[in-house]
Structure formats: C-alpha cells, structure tokens
C-alpha cells in the first residue's frame, strides 16, 4: 500500500460522513426511555409513600434505623460488589431464601386455616400416594399392557380420592351393610380411601400428620439431594435426622415460646431446612463465607434499632400497609381495614386458573405445534385457528367478563361472584396468552432434537414426552407465570361476574362468594372517607404489586436457572 499524505483530511471533521441525524435519533430514543421510566418510578414512589408513610415517624427514628440498618447493609453491598463477588452471591441467596421460605409458610398456613383441615390434607395426600403406588405396582407387574396402564393411571387417583359413583353393585354392598347394622351414611357408592381416612375413629394429632406428610417428605428430598451432590449417604441421612429433630424439639418447646406447632413445622420445612442446607454448604466449601454477614447484619441492625428507638422514645411511622392490614378484613373505618379475605380470594382464583388454564393451554399448544397438519386444506384451517388465537389475546377483558357471566352464571347457574367463576372467566382471558407463549417455547426447541429422536425410532409421543417437553418446559413455565401475573391484576371480568365489593370472611371453598385484590382496591377507590382513597388504597396497590413482583421474579429465576444448565 502506498502511503498517502496525511493532510488529505479523509479522517477529519470536514469529511462527508454525517452523524447529525443519527445522534438526534439516539437522543430522542433516550428521552423517550427516560420519560417512561421516570414517570412510572415517580408514580410508584408516590403510592409507596402513601402506603408506608415513612415521614410520619420521628426524625430520630429514621436516623437510628438508617444508622443501624441502611448504612451497614449498603457498606456490605458495596464491599461485595467491589471486592468479594462470591460473598455477594451468598449474601443474595441467604437473604432471599428466608423470604421465599416465609412466603411459602404463609401460603400453607392460609391453606390450612381457610381451605382444608390438616386431616383433610393428610387424607388427600395419603390417597394420592396410594394411587401412585398402585400405578407403579401395575407398571412393574404388567409392563407391556399399555391400554390397561392408561386405565390404571386415570382410574387409580379417582378411586382413591373420590370413590365410585352409585351402581347396582354398590347398592348391594351398602344394603348388605345396612342390613348388618352398619350405616356409613354413604348411600350406594363406594367410598374413597380419602373419605375412609377421614372417618377413622382415631386419627393422629395435627402435628404428627404434618410431620409425616410435609416435613419428612421435604426433608427426605433435601437429604436425597445432598446425598447426590456430595456422594455421601451419611450427609443425606444427617439432613433428614437433624430436620426431624429440630421439628420435634420445636413441637415440644414451641408452646412455651408462644409459637404454634403447625406454624413451627411449616417454618422448619420451608425456611430453616433450605437455609440450613445452604449455609452448611457455604461453610464447608469456605467460599464466600463473608456473605453470611449480610443477613446477620440485617437482623442485628433491626434488633439494635428497636432497642435504641425504644430507649430514646422515638415514635415509629404509622403505615397503612402493616401486619394488621395484611391479616384483617375490610372495615368501615380506614384504620381497621385490611386485605386478607381479598388476598385469599386472589390466591384461590389463581389456583383455579392454574388447574384449568395450564393443562388446556399447554395441551392446545402441543397439538398445534407437534400434531396439527401444516399443509393442505387442514393446514389452512390450522393457520386460521392460530391467527384467531392471536386475536383472542387482544380481546378486551370486559368481554371475557361478559362471557363468564353468560356461560357460568346464566347457563351453568353457578353462584354469582364465586371463586370458581372468577377463576374460569379470568382463566379464559389468559388462555390465548398461555397458548401462544407455550407454542413459542415448543417452537424454540431445535428441530435437530426431534430429527435425532425420530431417527432413533422413537414414536411421536416418546419424542414429545422425552425430548420436546423437557426442553420447552422452562419457557412454558415462564410464559405461564407471566400470564398469571396478568390474571391476578384483572379487574373488569371480576366486576362483570359480580365478585363481592367487600367481604368480611375469606372464602372457604371454591363456590363461596369472594372478593379479589383488584376488586377490593376498586371499591376502596369510591369510598367517601379520603383516608380510604389515599391510604388504604395505596396499601392495597402495594400488596398487589408485591405479589406480582414475587411471581415475575419466580419466572425470571426459572428462566435463568434453565438457561445456565441448558
């Protein structure tokens, strides 16, 4: 290459390259982003301020907690970020695990308080385990009988959980029993194992049943996990043994400290056990041990802060969103109002949605992606269906509310405003979203995996079951959880199907009339008392957002976890 004269100026300011339009475009995009983010952030800050009212506290109270909690934690965070990243990871997990564990504990506590007794839970679980055992035994005894196996898989859970409907044979059995003076009050049907357990004259106490059905299985799973990880049977057994010991000790000692035995068992299962296993692992590896300082500092800070503020007589804030708000029902006075029944209503609605929409949506997605023809007249028909699923995803939610009203309440005569109607109406609303996101996840499984599987002589079912679904599952779960996040905030369908404006009691069954969080927030917005509109409403909104945040965080954790290993 010949060297050119440097003063030709090809590289300088006077060249023909024009950056001006590009820079202006970049600046406009930045402004749009900043505008959107800042407005949402301001709105959130405004609502959070209303809900927590931090500035109703004494300046001394704020200063004390800033000094004991905020400053040390911020200092630790900076230290981890700059100098010790593994410790930062440990700090993150050890702070997050107890929160998740306590949330799960709360969920199960509400389940046992509102929905089913411990005995019902015990009977249900035992029945399901027996059904699983029957299926496994059949698989062992007759591995080749495919049709028979299908029947066993379908029938075993039904028989153990629900029993058999009235038939002439059952009539004969019941009549014979009645003639012998035995009356089960069951009238011509075979009772299920679940009902039989419920009728036992002698049942173990609640804590024994919880220990058997919740603590031991979870501890066993954790023990198995540890055994696999460390290849040490002793360590696995130690996990099971220690967990059981802590649980039993708590049952004996708990009442002395004022902790309910059931609550203690739940806390041990969901918070103490995972945290213990994780911390022990960190100590053993000796990597990032300093991260443990973070949760310790947080707890110490709160304790010291409360001692200091107590001693100096600083008054804390008077937030609308406090423990009382989360655990009590709505009331005529703003100070007593709470969101508990609406929260239980929302969670039960989500359960209905998960149980109905997830299987239907994923099933439809699998059919459309893996089985449906893509060529010819049928292929065109399938394309038409897919386009319309996309359209359905855009139909306004109030229309789905109307559909729910017409279908479930007018036609099926189910109780107006009940949990099941709300769940099905909102479930229909998110069904197209679930189908589309599941299709997306299934489509993203590389075709080469399917080719490899078919090339090995796998049937279509084996390919879907063993290759496509395991690969697509994280994507399907992520999409579904995000759709559930949309479902929990929907208000219009709840108004249309007549969900209660305010209820004093949480629903105890899926056919009870209930309120849900967005419906409750909506009715607070029209209260005359301004403290409802400003304070209670804000607290409700923050609660709803927190639930949403937890769900979305779960989706993100699932996605990241599987991306790393996949």
């Amino acid at each position: 290459m010949a060297t050119r004269e440097p003063e030709t100026g090809w590289h300088g300011e006077d060249s023909d390259v024009n950056h001006l339009r590009g820079r202006a475009f970049e600046a406009t995009c930045l402004a749009a982003t900043a505008f959107g983010l800042v407005s949402v952030l301001l709105l959130l800050l405004f609502v959070a301020n209303d809900a927590f009212r931090p500035f109703s506290a004494d300046a001394g109270w704020l200063a004390t907690y800033a000094a004991t909690v905020l400053v040390p934690l911020a200092a630790l965070a900076v230290y981890y970020y700059r100098l010790d990243e593994p410790a930062g990871e440990v700090a993150y997990v050890t702070s997050g695990l107890p929160v998740v564990g306590l949330l799960l504990t709360g969920g199960f506590a509400v389940l046992f308080i509102e929905l089913l007794s411990v005995l019902e839970w015990f009977a249900l679980l035992i029945s399901l385990v027996v059904a699983g055992g029957l299926i496994a035994a059949h698989g062992r005894l007759r591995p080749k009988a495919a049709l028979e196996r299908l029947a066993v898989v379908l029938l075993a859970p039904i028989v153990t959980v629900f029993g058999l409907p009235p038939t002439s044979f059952n009539r004969f059995v019941t009549d014979t029993a009645a003639a012998l003076g035995l009356d089960f009050g069951l009238y011509y049907r075979v009772i299920s194992l679940r009902e039989a357990i419920m009728m036992l004259p002698f049942v173990p106490t609640d804590w024994v049943m919880l220990l058997l059905t919740l603590v031991l299985p979870v501890a066993g799973a954790a023990g198995w996990f540890v055994e696999q990880r460390r290849e040490s049977r002793r360590d696995g057994l130690a996990v099971v043994g220690l967990t059981t010991a802590v649980a039993v000790v708590g049952v004996v000692a708990g009442p002395l400290l004022g902790i309910g035995t059931d609550v203690w068992l739940l806390v041990v299962t969901f918070a103490v056990l995972p945290l213990g296993v994780y911390v022990e692992g960190v100590l053993r590896r000796g990597e990032g041990v300093r991260g443990l300082a973070f949760p310790v500092a947080a707890v110490l800070g709160v304790v010291v802060g409360s001692v200091v503020t107590g001693a100096l007589g600083f008054a804390g804030p008077d937030p609308w969103l406090d423990w009382g708000f989360l655990t009590s029902a709505t009331s005529r006075t703003a100070a007593d109002a709470g969101i508990y029944p609406a929260m239980v209503g929302s969670v039960m609605m989500i359960i209905v949605i998960v149980l109905t929409t997830f299987p239907v949506g994923v099933g439809a997605a699998i059919y459309l992606e893996e089985y449906a023809p893509s060529q010819g007249l049928m292929g065109k028909f399938v394309t038409l269906i897919e386009i319309n699923i996309g359209n359905l995803a855009g139909v306004p939610s109030v229309v789905y509310g109307l559909l729910g009203l017409a279908l479930f309440i007018r036609v099926l005569q189910w109780p107006q405003g009940s949990v099941i109607v709300a769940g099905l109406a909102v479930g229909l609303l998110i069904l197209p979203i679930v189908i589309i996101s599941a299709q997306e996840a299934i489509r993203s499984v590389p075709d080469s995996f399917r080719q490899a599987s078919y090339g090995m002589g796998a049937t279509r079912w084996q390919t879907i079951r063993q290759v496509v679904l395991p690969e697509a599952l994280p994507g399907i779960l992520t999409g579904t959880i995000l759709a559930l996040g949309r479902a929990i905030g929907e208000t219009a369908p709840l108004l249309m199907i007549g969900a209660a404006a305010s209820v004093r009691l949480a629903p105890n069954s899926f056919f009870d009339v209930a309120s849900m969080m967005p419906r409750q927030i909506f009715s607070w917005s029209s209260e005359l008392d301004p403290s409802f509109r400003h304070g209670v409403l804000a607290a409700g909104v923050i609660t709803l957002l927190a639930v949403l945040l937890v769900m979305n965080a779960t989706a993100i954790v699932i996605r990241n976890r599987y991306q790393r290993t996949g």
């Binding site: 599987s453 078919y454 090339g455 090995m456 002589g457 796998a458 084996q462």
Partner: protein, 299 residues
C-alpha cells in the same frame, strides 16, 4: 454383540442385484476406450461384496411440484460402506432420508416407486416407519446430541425401545465401539453439550449403534468438523462397516474415495448417473459427466 450377526443372517431371501444403474463388467478395462454402454446383468463383484440389503426401484421423490429424485435404481450391499456423492441439491440426502422414511416428517414430500429393505418395500401400507427406523439408525450432518447427560444420550434409544436389560453394559459397549469411551468414561453424568464437536458426533454414532441396528445412514457426518475430528470419524466408519451396513452421504470426494467400497454419483436434477465400486468410479468412470465432476470441472 452377536445379535447383530443373527439379525442380519435371518434376513429375508436374497434379492437379485441387477438394478445397478451403470456397471462395468471389468473394472480393469482400458481407460482409453469409452465403455459408456449400460450393461444390464449381475454385478461382477456381487459375489464378494455381499448381497444387497437396501434396494430401490424407480424411486421418485417430489417436494411439492419440484422433483428431487428421478427414477433411482440402486442396490446397497450388506456390511460395506456405500458413499453417495454429488453437488449440492442433487438429491443424495433425499435418497438417504427415503431409506428410513425420514421424509415422512416433511409434509410437502411425496415418494413414488419402491424401496426394499431386506426384501420388504418400506413404503408398503403395513410398514410402521417407527419400526423401520429401529432397524436403520441415522447420524446427521450437524452433531445433535440431546441436552441430556452423555449416558442418557446413549441410553435414549435403548430406553425408548424397551431394551433396558444390562443397559450400563450396552452403553459402555456402544461408547467403546464409537471410540469415545476412553475420553468420557469418567464424566458420563456430564452434559453432552459440553463435549467438542467431534466428540459430539462420535456420541451421536454411539447413540445410533447402541440399539444394534442393521444399517447406519450418515448424512455428511464430518462436514461440520475439523480435519482431526474428521479423520477419527472416518476411521470409525471403516471399523463400523465390519458389523453394519453403512450408507454415507458426503460432499468430500476424497473422503468417499478413502472410506467407501461402493460409490453412487448423483448429479444435478436428482439423477443417479453412475454407481459402481469406488475404485472404478474414481479411476475410470463410465460417464463423462462423472469424470468431469470428479476431476473438478464442475460441481
């Protein structure tokens, strides 16, 4: 693995190997004399090269309106390496995928004509393509192990075919035959995706031979690999031909010359132009077009 010999011996009545497209009675003929006359009759080498296990008769394949294969007549001998070469889009991969009916998976593909595997037309209505593919394994162009552990990849075929007795031994044998055992024996639980490209392809070969098929189809198995990995795969293919019938599609003519016993040359338009012993094809092809292709004048 003695079952393999058993299954091949109990194969159906020997089918006459008369349908080779263009064969020469004497491979050592004078190269200067044009011998392009089609000679119908028994292949001169049929006696020593084994009876045909796969035989196509007037096989046509269409993708929608486009014809991808035109009246292919071909007989692939047992326990030998048969290579298929030709320029891109000449239909050699399509032919390979006809053998184990992988073209069924493409909605637009339509197959006319007959293709016999051990004397049975695989396009008969009573043939289950799943059963067919359990006898005919396949290795693809790009290594495509499942995102499972190395062990689970090799065990996949055994599990879906319910051959779960002695599964550990079968996995080990397959990995040894695929010359991969020494490299992975301590990390069978690791994800197959952590292996290098060449190791992944040998894993795919191990996965295909674990279920002890009769035939292994390979669709450009080394085209995505570096030269060292390629030479390992080539050595492996030659060893495999002692126990399996291997049909390999390749772009690489030197590779075909090195490893195959028989070579089929497909040229543009989906025609089978010449099929004969590899030495004959590369030293003294009957067809001028084949000679032009092999010497690099086109394609």
């Amino acid at each position: 693995m003695t079952e393999n010999e058993m299954t091949s011996n109990e194969s159906t009545e020997p089918t006459p190997s008369t349908e080779t497209a263009a064969s020469s009675p004497d491979p050592s003929g004078d190269p200067l004399i044009d011998q392009s006359i089609d000679v119908e009759g028994t292949d001169a080498n049929a006696g020593e090269t084994g009876k045909p296990v796969i035989e196509s008769r007037d096989l046509n394949v269409f993708y929608g309106e486009t014809q991808a294969l035109q009246g292919i007549d071909l007989a692939i001998p047992e326990k030998q390496v048969t290579a298929m070469i030709g320029p891109s889009g000449c239909g050699k991969s399509t032919f390979l995928r006809c053998i184990n009916r992988m073209n069924d998976l493409i909605d637009a593909a339509r197959v006319e004509g007959d293709l016999y595997f051990e004397g049975k037309n695989v396009y008969d209505a009573d043939v289950d393509p799943v059963a067919l593919r359990r006898r005919i394994g396949m290795v693809f162009q790009h290594p495509n192990p499942f995102p499972k552990s190395i062990y689970d990849n090799v065990a996949y075929g055994l599990r879906i075919q319910d051959q779960t007795e002695d599964i550990d031994d079968k996995v080990e044998t397959a990995l040894k035959r695929a010359a991969l055992w020494d490299e992975v024996k301590d990390q069978l639980d690791k994800s197959a995706l952590d292996l290098s490209g060449g190791q992944q392809q040998r894993l795919c070969i191990a996965r295909a031979i674990a279920v002890d098929p009769d035939v292994i189809l390979m669709d450009e198995p080394a085209s995505a690999l570096d030269p060292i990995a390629t030479s390992k795969i080539e050595d492996l293919i030659e060893e495999l031909a002692e126990e399996f019938t291997v049909v390999i599609v390749t772009h690489n003519m030197q590779q075909a010359a090195r490893i195959s016993d028989k070579t089929a040359v497909f040229l543009t338009g989906g025609e089978l132009v010449e099929f004969d012993d590899t030495d004959k094809i590369f030293e003294n092809p009957d067809s001028q077009r084949v000679e032009d292709y092999i010497t690099g004048k086109f394609g």
